[in-house]
């Protein structure tokens, strides 16, 4: 949020190269300076367990930014300082942004800034980011630190004596070689048995392995614990000491409104109904709003189409320009945005208010049934709106295994466009119970496939560990900004594909390759799925935009009255296949970007085959109804 407020609209969101970690960059001008800012992922520690930690640590140590801003939550001082101490060990010019001082005050926590600055040895700027307080002070301090040319002073804090001795000893072993990493930091990380640090250190001095073993052995004998635990404990001791010395509790924390609300939200009896109501309201709101806006856009676009037709006359040029390119853009605007944009806003609000964490808390048990944990609930919900942000959202899971499992399951969730197909076809012509039945079938499939994938994937599942942020009233402006930047990311990644795909299909139509394609596909469409051969085309179009699966049906079958050309069973089979088969092209793009070609291809192929299997089986079973 601080990043967003600083950079305003001058922002760009992408990925760290080769990793599934979001990277946000921006610029701003302040005084005589142009400042480039990079938002590093929110992490708790600088170990090398997750990609987020690796990315941050490499960036700070190797790229050596001019200044690093450490954003600390004033309500969680002690725990945040654990991370601050690790940053200090990296010897980087640091400014501390002490955020949410208003919440801390409300809880009766008064923080003595001077004392904190003294104990840490770096400047501390108090802020209330959601209300825009403290930003100019922060920027001034950043400039100050930059101008003073400090190379990053060591923290005045030290570990216990035997640890410090071991650190110094390791430092001397490495002093003859040059390294980008500060020697003290390397020494500390070695004692923490950090794998990457070991590799770096062995490069500098191959003999260091023996010395390290000796030292860690001594420490472990003395303390009875492995050396990395001891270092963490010591760091926490220091953090705790600093926190106690710089903070006074004016009034004992009493259960404020936020706490009582929290209890209600996670209550045994009320929690789940409340969550269900919230989710249903969101869906209803988003779909209604989306529907209205979408319709409006569609009307505008047909006007534009007519205008263009009037301008350049019918013919190949019109077909290419309008049918190929423009319609692609329009598809994105009319279908994707009206649903995705409100979804993103809602997610941003849920996130900022802290309710999202409560949802993960309540959903954890259910997620375990498919081998994931509570945090996976969030991308799943997103997928009901659009699979693209849903699949991107799988990044919040910690391990690669969880991410791939989550994204695999997520692609089976029907997005808004697929819902259009299900409701528009089965819901309208066969009956709403059947349509809802398809959703239930979908959940069952997710359960079964999730468990199967869980058993098939190597590696251990990890349990839920998640910070529960304080409940806060969300600030709409901040949420809107966040939404805007995420939308940009979506537009840049998905739109080009939608447009190109649309263009290609248009060419196919114009070159009358459609008939032969239908012929080729008929063994599957007619023979196995028992559908009219024309649907071969619509299913292919569906790769582009799922709603085309329904919208084009009328044109290829030659009538708007679908009940006259399709039996109820055929409609159900068709909708089921639509729901389960290939992800839309934008989703495939995300899969490729985040997980690589091989896995994206594997998931896509599996889904196609699986959908065909289920569709064919249904076609035969439904005969009995």
């Amino acid at each position: 949020m601080i990043f967003n407020q600083l950079t305003g609209l001058h922002q760009h969101i992408g990925n760290w190269p080769g990793k599934t970690v979001e990277r946000a960059e921006g610029t701003l001008s302040f005084g005589n300076y142009t400042i480039d800012i990079i938002d590093l992922p929110g992490i708790y520690s600088l170990s090398t367990y997750s990609q987020e930690e690796q990315v941050s640590r490499q960036y700070i140590a190797i790229e050596k930014p001019d200044v690093v801003v450490n954003v600390i939550d004033a309500c969680a001082l002690e725990r945040n300082l654990f991370f601050t101490l690790q940053l200090l060990e990296l010897r980087t010019p640091l400014v501390i942004a002490l955020n949410q001082v208003d919440s801390a005050e409300n809880k009766g926590l008064m923080i003595n800034l001077h004392k904190l600055e003294e104990l840490l040895g770096v400047p501390v700027v108090p802020m209330v980011a959601p209300r825009g307080i403290g930003f100019s002070e922060l920027l001034s301090k950043i400039i100050e630190v930059y101008e003073s040319g400090d190379e990053g002073i060591p923290s005045p804090q030290e570990f216990g004596r035997e640890i410090e001795q071991a650190v110094v000893r390791l430092q001397t072993e490495m002093q003859n070689a040059e390294s980008k990493y500060p020697p003290r930091w390397l020494a500390i990380k070695l004692l923490e048995q950090d794998e990457e640090a070991k590799k770096i250190a062995l490069d500098l001095n191959p003999n260091i392995g023996g010395v390290l073993e000796e030292l860690t052995g001594e420490i472990e004998k003395l303390h009875g614990e492995s050396s990395n635990m001891i270092l963490s404990s010591e760091r926490y001791t220091i953090a705790s000491r600093i926190a106690n010395q710089s903070m006074t509790i004016v009034s004992p924390p009493t259960a404020g409104f936020a706490d009582r609300l929290d209890q209600v939200l996670t209550d045994r009896i009320l929690g789940y109904p409340i969550m269900a109501i919230v989710i249903l309201t969101i869906f209803y709101g988003v779909f209604t709003f989306g529907g209205l806006v979408s319709d409006a856009f569609i009307r505008i676009s047909s006007e534009l189409g007519l205008a263009l037709l009037g301008l350049i006359g019918p013919g190949i040029l019109f077909e290419l320009l309008w049918g190929g390119l423009a319609e692609g853009v329009i598809a994105g605007i009319t279908i994707a945005l009206p649903y995705i944009a409100p979804f993103y806003i809602v997610m941003a609000v849920l996130e900022d208010s802290g309710y999202l964490a409560r949802m993960a808390f309540l959903a954890d048990v259910a997620m375990h049934k498919i081998g994931l944990h509570g945090k996976a609930f969030i991308p799943m919900i997103l997928c009901y709106g659009c699979n693209v942000p849903g699949c991107i959202g799988c990044r919040i899971l910690e391990t690669d295994r969880d991410r791939i499992l989550a994204v695999f399951v997520a692609t089976f969730i029907p997005c808004a466009a697929t819902t259009v197909v299900i409701m528009g076809l089965v819901g309208t012509y066969v009956g709403i119970e059947w349509a809802l039945g398809l959703y239930v079938l979908d959940l069952l499939i997710i359960l079964i496939l999730g468990r199967a994938a869980f058993k098939a994937l190597p590696g251990e599942p990890v349990g839920l560990i998640m910070e529960m942020p304080n409940l806060r009233a969300p600030v709409l402006e901040a949420a809107a900004k966040k939404t805007w930047f995420r939308l940009q990311d979506f537009i840049y990644s998905a739109f080009p594909l939608i447009i190109v795909g649309n263009f290609v299909i248009k060419l196919l139509i114009m070159s009358s390759l459609l008939q032969p394609i239908q012929q080729v596909m008929s063994p599957i469409t007619v023979g196995w799925l028992r559908l009219p051969s024309a649907v071969g085309i619509t299913l292919i179009f569906g790769i582009l935009r799922k709603e085309l699966i329904l919208l084009l049906l009328s044109s290829v079958l030659g009538t708007n009255n679908l009940a006259s050309v399709l039996t109820k069973a055929q409609m159900i089979v068709y909708a089921t296949v639509a729901m389960l088969y290939i992800p839309c092209i934008a989703t495939i793009a995300v899969l490729v970007r985040d997980f690589g070609y091989k896995r994206a291809l594997a998931i896509t192929l599996f889904k196609i085959l699986f959908a065909l299997l289920v569709g064919g089986l249904l076609a035969r079973i439904l005969v009995f109804f």
């Binding site: 002690e78 789940y272 954890d364 048990v365 560990i465 529960m468």
Partner: protein, 231 residues
Amino acid sequence: MISKSREEYLKAIYALNEEGEQAETMKIASRLGVKPASVTGMLKKLSDEGYVKYESYRGAELTDKGDKAASKIVRKHRLLERFLTDMLRLGKNNVHEQAGEMEHTLSDEAEEALCRVLQHPDLCPDDKKLIPPCNKDIPDCTACDGASPTSERDAEITPLSELKQGEEGWITFIRGGRSACQRLMDLGLTRDTPIRLVDSAPFHGPVEISVRGTKIAIGRGLASKIFVRVR
């Protein structure tokens, strides 16, 4: 060395308590398949030897000494069940009885080695009940290597997943390997850290604890690996 029959009784009382029931004479009798009169006789002996507190209308309650002994035998039983299921791949049906025979002759040394080779499991295979932790005075499983002698832990510890709302305590033991400990550590859950249970989700869902001034949600599985001594 406690006799085999005493161990059976201690095990039964422990199991009844675990299920939230009082260890009344009739229940113990039906569980062990013996006459109520025998139960009364044995309970009196156990009471004299300091293992239980016995009141005829309330049933038996384990003393500290009794709880330690009961935990030990239950632990051996459940570790053996895990061993027979996971490593020897015996079907679940035979495992309970077989373990019930072997537990009495398993030495403490073998128990320790078993826990290590099974990589410190925390639930027994058939009914997913918690395997009681060992009583070594170590902060976590990485410090257990069989070579260095360790003293006995004297505090009574409870898994985080079984704390009641509002209960406070200090983290004393984390059952798990390096990566689990590391993750917990990064969020401030280290030895002797004071924590308070804020809430626990229904249906064996995650627990929410307050630690170092912040609230953290921990999945139930992970929470049953974190042991605290209650205030």
